[in-house]
Symmetry: D2
Subunit: 234 residues, 4 copies
Amino acid sequence: MGGKVCAIIGFGPGLGAAYAEVFKAAGYDLGLLSRSGASLNGAEPTGKTVRTYRCDAGDPDSLKSSLASVQSDLGEIDVVIYNADLAQFGAFEDISELQFEQSWRVGALGLFATAKLLGPQMSERGSGVIIVSGATAALRGNVWTTAFAPSKSAQRTLANSLAKQLGPKGVHVVYLIIDGVIDTEDTRTNFAPNESDDFFIKPIRIAEAALMLAQQDKSAWTFELDIRPFGEKW
Amino acid sequence: MGGKVCAIIGFGPGLGAAYAEVFKAAGYDLGLLSRSGASLNGAEPTGKTVRTYRCDAGDPDSLKSSLASVQSDLGEIDVVIYNADLAQFGAFEDISELQFEQSWRVGALGLFATAKLLGPQMSERGSGVIIVSGATAALRGNVWTTAFAPSKSAQRTLANSLAKQLGPKGVHVVYLIIDGVIDTEDTRTNFAPNESDDFFIKPIRIAEAALMLAQQDKSAWTFELDIRPFGEKW
Amino acid sequence: MGGKVCAIIGFGPGLGAAYAEVFKAAGYDLGLLSRSGASLNGAEPTGKTVRTYRCDAGDPDSLKSSLASVQSDLGEIDVVIYNADLAQFGAFEDISELQFEQSWRVGALGLFATAKLLGPQMSERGSGVIIVSGATAALRGNVWTTAFAPSKSAQRTLANSLAKQLGPKGVHVVYLIIDGVIDTEDTRTNFAPNESDDFFIKPIRIAEAALMLAQQDKSAWTFELDIRPFGEKW
Amino acid sequence: MGGKVCAIIGFGPGLGAAYAEVFKAAGYDLGLLSRSGASLNGAEPTGKTVRTYRCDAGDPDSLKSSLASVQSDLGEIDVVIYNADLAQFGAFEDISELQFEQSWRVGALGLFATAKLLGPQMSERGSGVIIVSGATAALRGNVWTTAFAPSKSAQRTLANSLAKQLGPKGVHVVYLIIDGVIDTEDTRTNFAPNESDDFFIKPIRIAEAALMLAQQDKSAWTFELDIRPFGEKW
């Protein structure tokens, strides 16, 4: 319990794994929270420096209980990355009220619960970082984002509100506007099977940006930055 | 059941009453939905042209049931004004998870339920108007808008998504960015007791703008406009 | 010199003519400024209630001189509509430094000169309206808007700055985000020859919105609204 | 002429010097352009790896001539940092047409001239970085930003347009939204003499962010990020 601790909410293949790889390489102990309780590259789920937790980010009690376990297992959380997302897409006729609510629970309520638990602790210590994996849908609605845009925009203005509350206390809140398709086995297979390498964002590059932001000096903090592949039309 | 019908969700003193007055004067029959079941200026709650309904905008079943009653009592709804709002303000330590959820239910889920019920009907007729009373908090979070900003921004991007889905089918969705304090007995007494008349937005003027927007020709529709008093700092 | 006076900078076929028609019908005397000195529907260019002036909106001296003539001919200007625009499109290799500058002169410098002349007078009277025909390009740059976006965004933030300076003095500044192709003989022939009626914004509808905004009560002013055809993808 | 070359337009005490320090430490040869022709820490102005040039960023011919000299002296420019700015503040009555124009020349026209010269070369090589020192005033106008906001917003949407044109060709355009007062001898003395250290942004931290952005992998480029001190109200 000596190193810095990074908790990743919404660990899984793709971006979650990239965050884990980059922050581990930077010396952080990791608490990995996911619905499935997946571990990192087949590693022991209860290792000394990397531990995995099964939880539902859309359920505040489950989430706060897992974050408390991270703290008792690894120590105080220095960086928390909120990467949970349902990413449900559809026109309003296709989205049920339950789906609409679940999107919001995982996108916004879980971030609120995270802040309720960790915000006061980080404020008291005068340091801490909260990074949120956001999306362009946070800025506007489109035809297929009936559930996704409201969830992401609620998440973004919550992060914005938290940044203004916690910033003066030394806690850095960051919102990443990820604008493009992340390169994962799933997106390569199911979402964009015919696209070339250049079409995708490499998740490791997003994680590197997150690490840089987590290390910014407090005289020059970034709240929001966009990330997209060089050839993206936007 | 011959005239045009306007349903106002979130009827009450202030802006709700102003919408009712302006749309009634323009010849609309009114269905007034509120938590208290309040009526218009002491009028008969089950009149031929103005009827009142008790419902909870944050409960989709209650809301849809009341909207269905409006339709069976007064006829097809031509204009629906979504004016429900909890307006809970506070730092993240002061807002409970329940309050955070209730804000979202009344701000965003209720609008979604409204669209689920009325969107398909309006699309089929090729006409209809959905007007939402929004706020500047929809665009960004601030220190005291931990619950309010996420609720309003979810509402705004949902309205934006609906506008893009329903517009091509002839249904006009409008989002009002109300930027200032509305002149009501409550705000005069409790929120800004020492301010002069110039400080407040007159609710009747917001309602007039809404009526104008409801009457726009479909070659030149407005999705969003801001409204504030002339002396407002912004 | 008894009625209200509206000066239209950038009068011409399409939107300029629509502004003239709508404000004339509302009882305004008109001062019509254009590069060609065109008159309204072949009317006498020096009539008692409608007068035309030849000027270059990108040349502050020319513009201010013409506006002064409007005032000596028709009386104090109550409403000024800034509708001048070069609308030059192209990639950065295709746009010359001269074109880049001309776009800015007509889009932004002319509005500044207008405000320098009329702002103090309107402030002193405690009333007046400045309406600007803007565009979505004011909000972001795109591939073909190397010259147009910088011109329109400069225009928009200038209007925003003026609104905050002049608003508390009773002068209403409005920025119209026109998002779509205006229906004119030119756009029908040259820009979008194969589009149906539904593709275009009817200029008269934009002018009607402008008139409504010019008449807003000062307790509920709009600075910005968007206008687009119902089927527009955005 | 073997190392990478960074040209800094608008070199001077404060942020310009910080860019120079950070990019020099990262191994770049430097071409420093300023109105005064100032050199770096009293160094020889015509050294092998750092050279200084006198030019007016608001004059396209002067600017392009100096950039051409950088290239003949040091080699192809890999990174150009556009840091020129007049930063003139005032209400519209206080700003002359000449000042309004000069602000735009230095803020927007100079960036356009830079892109006209370097854009095609960078496109042909398939690499290059253009970083612009922007400001929050690029997003909206305020009472004192009659000249500054139009200049910065024109600069931002130009950068945005260039990013979309040059990105697919491998050239990375970045816009920094600097939101706060930079710590310099001038701002400490004249602008905010009574503020504590925490009030200011350390220029070296902005330059470090710029370096990180210049090194982003092209699968995950950032166009825009904001930078402000942790205690800033925004």
